[in-house]
Symmetry: C2
Subunit: 341 residues, 2 copies
Amino acid sequence: MFDERIYKVLWAVVESYITNPDPVGSRFVTKKYAFNLSSATIRNIMADLEDMGFLHQPHTSAGRVPTDKAYRFYVDYLAQKEGTADANPMDEIIRKLENIRTDINALLKETSRTLSTFSHYLGVALPPNPNNTTLKGINLFKYKQRQVMVVLMTDEGIVKNKVIQLDPDLTQHDLNRISQYLNSEFSGQTLDEIRSSVLREMYRDKSLCDTLISKAIRICREALSFDPGDIFISGLHEVLGLPDFSDIQRIKEISKAIEDKHLIIKLLDMLPRSEGVRVLIGAENPASEMRRLSMVVSSYREGNKPMGTIGIIGPTRMDYMKVITLVDRTAKFITKILSER
Amino acid sequence: MFDERIYKVLWAVVESYITNPDPVGSRFVTKKYAFNLSSATIRNIMADLEDMGFLHQPHTSAGRVPTDKAYRFYVDYLAQKEGTADANPMDEIIRKLENIRTDINALLKETSRTLSTFSHYLGVALPPNPNNTTLKGINLFKYKQRQVMVVLMTDEGIVKNKVIQLDPDLTQHDLNRISQYLNSEFSGQTLDEIRSSVLREMYRDKSLCDTLISKAIRICREALSFDPGDIFISGLHEVLGLPDFSDIQRIKEISKAIEDKHLIIKLLDMLPRSEGVRVLIGAENPASEMRRLSMVVSSYREGNKPMGTIGIIGPTRMDYMKVITLVDRTAKFITKILSER
DNA sequence: ATTAGCACTCTCAAGGCAAGAGTGCTAAAG
DNA sequence: CTTTAGCACTCTTGCCTTGAGAGTGCTAAT
C-alpha cells in the first residue's frame, strides 16, 4: 500500500497532462518516464489509481485524466520539495512593479496584469478590505447646495470618496469643525470599529438631534456604507487561448466569474490571511460557479499586518509549479515594497 | 433607380436578419413581407442589391445577409422616422438610476450595467475626461515620510487621488500653505489649462528653485499626470449568449476590446460631443479590432456642458431601433439628473 | 415587367467504414 | 506472487458518401 511506485505513476500522469491536455495512456507513461516496467503493469497501476479516485477515463479506451484529488496530491507533494522552479520572469516582474511604489491601487492593478501575462491565466488582486483598514483622516468639502464630499484616507493608502446629501445646508466652516471632531474621535480606529461605535452613539444621543456631533455621526454613517474595495482582474484573453476553454460553456463560466466580482471578493476575503500560498482546486472551491476552476492565492502584508490578496485563477489543469512560485514571490515582493515605504 | 420597391426589400432583409440571424431568401421575403411580387422578382431585386453592395451571400444558394452598408442605410432611414419604438424598459431604468443621484461614478457604473442588461449587449460608460474638467479644489495631506497624498476635486464630481514622493520632507503646515496657493491660483481652470500654465511657470521661475511655489508646481505636475478616467464596461456574459458570438474567434475579439480599455476610451473621447445618438457600424469604426462590432453612443451633459459618453457595443447585427432609443433616453436621463443637482 | 419552371449548387446531417489508440483480461514467464 | 506478452474488444476520430433541403440564376412564357 505504501508503494512508492504507484505515486510515481500518478505524478507522471499529472505532469504529462499538465503540459499537454491529452488523456495519457499506459504506453505513453512507460515511454516518457522510463520506469522499468512494461505498459501492462502500468495499466494495472493506473486501474488501481482510478479505483482510488485519482484518475478518470473519459470513455473506455481513452487514456486517463487526473481528477481534482490527483491535483491535490500533486500540489501537496510539490509543497514538500518546494522551490525547484526557476524564477526567470521574476526579474521582469520586479522591474515592472518597482516604479509604482507609492500608489497601492496602481500597484495592484499592475500586479494583476503582470500575473496574468506571465501565468497565462487570470490575474487577480484584491486591495485591503476597507473595513479592516485604520482611518488616517477624514475630510469634508462643501460640494454643492446641500451636498458634501467626504474624503476618507486610511493608513494603508486607500482613499475613498463619496458625495452625500445633507438636509440642512452647512458652510465649509461647519464642515471643518465636524471633520476636526471626527478626526480627533476616530482616527487610528478601523472603519469597522468606527461603524459600530457610531451606531452606539446614535442610540445614546438621540436627544442631541441637531447638534454638530449628531450631524457628524450621520455623515459618518452614510460615508461608511462602502462596498468592498474594487478588485482587479485581468487576462481574459490569455485564458481564451488555452485549450481548456475551447468550448463556449466554459468560457461563459469564467466570464461569469469575472463579472461576479462580488463572489470572488467574498471568497478571497474569507480565506484566512495565513502566510504562504494557498491552492484551491476545482470542487474544493466553496462557490459552485468555480467548480471547474482553480485558484492560487497569497496574501500580502505591510510589515506584519495582513492587507489584501493576490493570485491567479485558471483551469484545474494548471501548471501549479510555475504558478505557485510566481504568486509566492510576487506576494513577497509586494510585501517588501509596502513595508519599506 | 429611385425605385421605392428595392429599398423596401432591403429593409425587409435587414429587419428579418436582425431578428433572426439566418441568411434570408427570396421566398421568405415574399411570405413574411407581403409584397405583391413573386419570389422570382424578389430574387432579381436582391441580386441588384448585391451588386450595389448592400447584400452579401455567404455561398451560392444561401440566402442573403446584410452588409455594413445595409445597416448604415437602415439606421439612417430609422433616424428619419425616429421614435417609433416603445420605451417599456425606461421606467425600470429610471427607477434604478434615480437612487444614485449624487455620485457620478456610481451612477455611470450602474448605467453601464443597466444598458447591458436591457440591450443584451455590452454597456459602456465613460466619465468626463479629467483633462477637460475644471478644478474645484486641491488638498494635500502628509501621508508618510516624504510622501504626500494629493486629492483633486473637480466641479464634475470627480475625485482623483494620488500619493506622490517628495524630496524634502514637508510639514502639514507647509502643505496647507501650498494647497492654499494652488487653490487660489488654479481653481476654476480646467486641468489641461493648469497643466500648460504649470509648464510655463516652470520655465520662467527656474530661479526660485526652492520656494514654496516651485514645490507647489512640482506637486501639480506630478499629480496631473492622470490617465483618462476609468471606463465602465459590463455585460460580457450577455453577449456570450448571442448567436453572433458562437465561435471562439469572435469572443476573443470582443474580450480583447474589453481589456483594451484604452482603445475604447480613445475612440469615444475622439468622437465629437454632438448632441444625439451616434452609430458606428462595423468597418466605419476607426479601430481595426472592432471591424465586426458596432457602437451606439451618446454623450451626456451637465446643463450645456458636454461631459462623458455612454453607449453600447455589440455585433453589427444589432437591434438598432431598440438600442438607439435606449441609449438616447438613458443619456437624456443622466443629463437631467446631473443638471438638476 | 413579371412570373413560372427547372436545372444547378451548396450546405448540412446521417450513416458507414477503416485506422488508431488504449484498455482489460488471460495465460505464460520470472 | 509479480510481471509481462498477447490478443480481443471498445471507443473515438476522420473521411467519404449520400440524400434532403434550401435557394439561386436563367430561360421562356405571360
